[in-house]
Symmetry: C2
Subunit: 207 residues, 2 copies
DNA sequence: ACTCAACTGTTATTTAAATCACAAAGATAA
DNA sequence: TTATCTTTGTGATTTAAATAACAGTTGAGT
């Protein structure tokens, strides 16, 4: 299958989560307009995305919920589950760990890293916190593929470099410091201040 | 000035923050390619954004840092400063409050809301936490314009409705439940699970 | 059997965003 | 002075994403 568009991948993740609820409620089929209503987008957008992954529904009953969930899984998840580390076990980092721990997805946070001795050798929602210096070792040992950065901004570059050297495949950076990494590593950045300033702008100017 | 593109607004927020550091370091002028390097984007992107806000630099020295910061301020900020509420003083909500409190921007978080009696009548990084039922009253009284939702997902719809009724102008929703609001209110949604699943996909398939 | 209503799947079009390509201008150096 | 270098500003083009438009299918109702 061809590489999917960015936005399609984001929506597939959301379709899946919406459908897990649907399934839990005992419904086995779903129409594009039902998915669309949940996410407040258009049905045609839903159908197009589903077309892109090569799945096809039935005319009378729409999509088979379990099948579609399954297929989205084969696209997003890796077979054995994806193992994730959080770097920086501060207020944001520990909130993230606790949060993901509650979900049952193929993503599991299996390690935290910090430099503060007070944070080390503790469990955060069952996840052990290791010293940052051991990052290379633990990433390999635990077969960790992705990392979330939640350290102070001043540390971002150093952390990113260590992660890349350790062989991480993807990084989600919640720090306000933009980083750049080898094109081998997929990088996603998100900055809450930017997001809130954007809300401020459009709330002020209307849209 | 015409309404700016979404992405331009996001970048302007980042340019400003980058330039605040520049200014602190004693530099008074900056070239498009210097800004671009900080954010890891192209210089032409920077120039185009700056063109859209009608500012113009000088050929030999690039942009005047203070002037550009000032102008971005008039675009994004509101004169008197923007007042923000956080609904849900849990792990994410309180992390956000603490975080924003440290920055000195025109955005200030001035109130939290919760339903849990244990959370009420306390200060989170100096911000008072009010009972959710008083939201209408406090939003008006405190002249709050924007809100961040960080309650459990099950509460999102109810919270959003209350916020809209209270006359909020913009909402940033960190809950995984999509909401829809009157087109009078600007809505931005961000879901960490989606973000991390996107990283998983592109780390797996390469991009 | 025929018609209608309600879906899906897909092509064509539009809109939004990013990039390319280059003219214009000011400083510097020969 | 004139050539050259560096940088901005912007029209033209390309790419990515969303939307529109509609053909095709199937079952229900008659
Ligand atoms: N708290 C929020 O809601 C929030 C929101 C948006 C962005 N952020 C960003 O997230 C980051 C973390 O924020 P926070 O509020 O959790 O801060 P925090 O200070 O609570 O946590 C940072 C943690 O990182 C650890 N750390 C420092 N250097 C490290 C290193 N080299 N390796 C590993 N760990 C290291 C610290 O010991 C600390 O535990 C910041 O960059 C902040 O800008 C936070
Ligand atoms: N913690 C994270 O890192 C994280 C990451 C991504 C998304 N989220 C989302 O953010 C939301 C909050 O997560 P959290 O980890 O902080 O949860 P949490 O349980 O720690 O906090 C939720 C808070 O909301 C309060 N609350 C419940 N109903 C309310 C209501 N009607 N009005 C006001 N407050 C109410 C609760 O009393 C609690 O204090 C969840 O929807 C979660 O999906 C959290």
């Amino acid at each position: 299958m061809k590489l999917l568009p960015d936005k399609t991948v984001e929506r597939l993740s959301q379709y899946r989560r919406a459908m897990l609820k649907t399934l839990a409620s005992g419904k086995h089929h779903i129409y594009s307009h039902e998915i669309a209503n949940i996410l407040h987008i258009t049905p045609v957008q839903v159908r197009r995305d589903i077309m892109l992954i090569g799945y096809t529904g039935t005319l009378r009953h729409g999509y088979d919920v379990s099948e579609l969930i399954e297929i989205i899984g084969t696209i997003i998840d890796s077979e054995e589950g994806t193992r994730v580390a959080v770097v920086g076990a501060g207020s944001l980092g520990s909130a993230i760990i606790r949060y993901f721990n509650g979900k049952r997805t193929k993503l599991s946070i299996v390690a935290a890293f910090d430099v503060n001795p007070d944070k080390l050798n503790k469990l955060y929602a069952g996840v052990p916190c290791y010293p940052f210096e051991k990052i290379q070792e633990i990433v390999k040992q635990e077969n960790i593929q992705l990392a979330v950065i939640a350290t102070p901004a001043s540390e971002t570059a150093k952390v990113a470099e260590a992660l890349v050297n350790a062989g991480i495949k993807g990084i989600l950076n919640y720090t306000p410091s933009p980083i750049n990494v080898s094109s081998q590593v997929y990088l996603e950045e998100y900055d809450m201040v930017t997001s809130l300033e954007k809300v401020a702008y459009f709330a002020k100017h209307g849209k």
